[in-house]
Amino acid sequence: MAKRKFRPGELLLHILILACSIFSVVLLVTIIVFVFAKGLHAVNWEFLTTVTSVRKGTVGIAGNIVNTLIIIILTLLIVTPLGIGAAIYLNEYAKPGKLVNTIEFMTEVLSGIPSIIFGLFGMMFFGQTLGLGYSLLTGSLTLIIMVFPLITRNTQEALKTVPDSFRQGSIALGAGKWYMIRTILIPSAMPGIITGVILAIGRIVGESAALIFTAGSAKYLPKSFLDIFRKIMDSGGTLTVKLYLSATSEGDFDTAFGTAVVLIIIVLIINILTKVLTRKFDPSRQGR
């Protein structure tokens, strides 16, 4: 066999390709190491369980953690059924045609709208027109529109993997369509739905631009369990908003990096969870 001609240009390109690929890994490791090196010392029990207060002399982000949790729960409670419903309509009821194309295009547009626009819209529509002001509810309603496409698309993908024989079998046994959806389709599509929900949690945790003008930035803890429900109508900043304010107007970089550590840990957990789920339920489905 003839030996290939040595091409220095090609070697250079090979090296460049390798370097670019390594870049992502190096970048990720650098970010994580840097954040942990700068912020780990700020994270302790007090940081996680108290609220920053000059009077008490405490530094903490507990209020922001609670706000984040409330927003996640409130958003998911509403958006999950809506997103599943939309996916079921698109996959099980609608016949291919103009309406389906329009819905799918609009869903795509919705997922392409930047979060700052959602924030602006949420502030104007839910905050002002509906009079909800800066509140956790306004923030949640805004996020519902934002993560709706995510839930819809993941459920749709899951529904597509349910074999048609399940549907035909169920109908042949005399089940109504609604009964079939409830007892056959939704349980079979559950892994995909759960993956969508977890991805949505990830987006909500990382979101800041859509929340700063809708949910505001208050950091207080609810006084009692029942107080949580009153708090829904109150302003409340999530972890990302806290990080942003600490790093900019407050100039408190210890808190900023401490919050960053907490956020990265949450993101890591969510990432691992999605991986485990997708692998467990369907090995042929690629993680995304």
Partner: protein, 304 residues
């Protein structure tokens, strides 16, 4: 009608309503953006607003020119694409055509894909924070060297357009990589085999055969990246500085998004309405990008 049929009908109607939600949401958002964004245009005047270069909303004789803001957004986005897309594309090539061999390389590929996934999941404020603490000081050193003894230059402390471009370039990597990987993977192996059989080298095959074949998918990734870069707000607000200037590398700049983030909280009256117009301009950009995206996808389907 039996109870059973009524139940079926109710279910169908509820699912239909859920299905229509996306349409309703987009229409309402569009309506609001237009309704809130138009008033300031008629009050300030279209050309004074869009082509004006002086932004002094709180002066006695206020001026609301957003040209530099629009240009900064465009320059920052294209800068990010110029840096980010080649890196992303080469990474995608590595992930698809270099790591299909033995077990070790496949593990490397898995590790890399996990890293990219995690990069996509890191909240934008963390990118902003790191940009502030790492990138801005480096930029400040550079700035001091380049502009030493230049009395006309306004020192920014490193918070400048260049920092914004670099942060954005990093932030669009995952999007472009993921979309490129799936489109390069979709190129059938017989095309590679045919090219190699004709005596082309591996790289010639990749750049002359595989990438052209995956062109429309890669373009989709690039356009999605443009959309992400244009819409990113918090991270660049933390690294790009806070004043409206023409978009040159070492100037502190405001983009469409950072303008909203930093002034919406205190603006009132006409100033606030102009900010809504800024939002509308951003929204129009995004809609145009979406239309381009649809076009590319349609073409891809026709050709594929």
């Amino acid at each position: 009608m039996k109870w059973h049929d009524i139940k079926e009908l109710i279910a169908k109607i509820i699912f239909l309503i859920c299905g229509l939600l996306a349409i309703v949401a987009v229409l309402v958002i569009t309506g609001y953006m237009i309704a809130k964004g138009i008033p300031a245009i008629s009050k300030v005047g279209f050309s004074d607003l869009i082509f004006g270069t002086v932004w002094k909303p709180t002066a006695d004789n206020p001026s609301y020119g957003i040209l530099y803001i629009i240009l900064s957004s465009i320059v920052a986005t294209f800068g990010a694409v110029l840096i980010g897309v080649p890196i992303a594309l080469l990474t995608a090539v590595f992930l698809t055509d270099y790591t299909s061999g033995n077990k070790t390389t496949r593990n490397v590929s898995k590790l890399l894909q996990s890293a990219v996934e995690l990069l996509a999941a890191i909240p934008s404020v963390i990118y902003g924070l790191i940009g502030m603490m790492v990138l801005n000081p480096i930029m400040f050193d550079l700035e001091k060297k380049i502009y030493a003894g230049n009395p006309n230059h306004q020192f920014t402390g490193g918070a400048n357009l260049l920092s914004a471009i670099i942060v954005l370039a990093v932030m669009i990597l995952p999007t472009v990589i993921n979309v490129s990987v799936s489109s390069i993977k979709a190129v059938p192996d017989h095309m590679r085999a045919a090219s190699l059989a004709l005596g082309a080298t591996k790289l010639q095959t990749i750049f002359k055969v595989v990438i052209p074949a995956a062109k429309s998918g890669i373009m989709t990734g690039v356009v999605l990246g443009i959309g992400r870069a244009l819409g990113e707000a918090m991270a660049i607000n933390m690294v790009a500085g806070g004043s409206v200037n023409p978009p040159f590398s070492f100037n502190s700049v405001r983009t469409l998004t950072t303008q909203l983030v930093s002034e919406m909280s205190y603006a009132s009256g006409l100033h606030r309405q102009v900010l809504f117009t800024v939002g509308l301009v951003l929204y129009i950009f995004i809609v145009v990008i979406n239309l381009i995206l649809m076009r590319i996808k349609k073409k891809g389907l026709e050709n594929g």
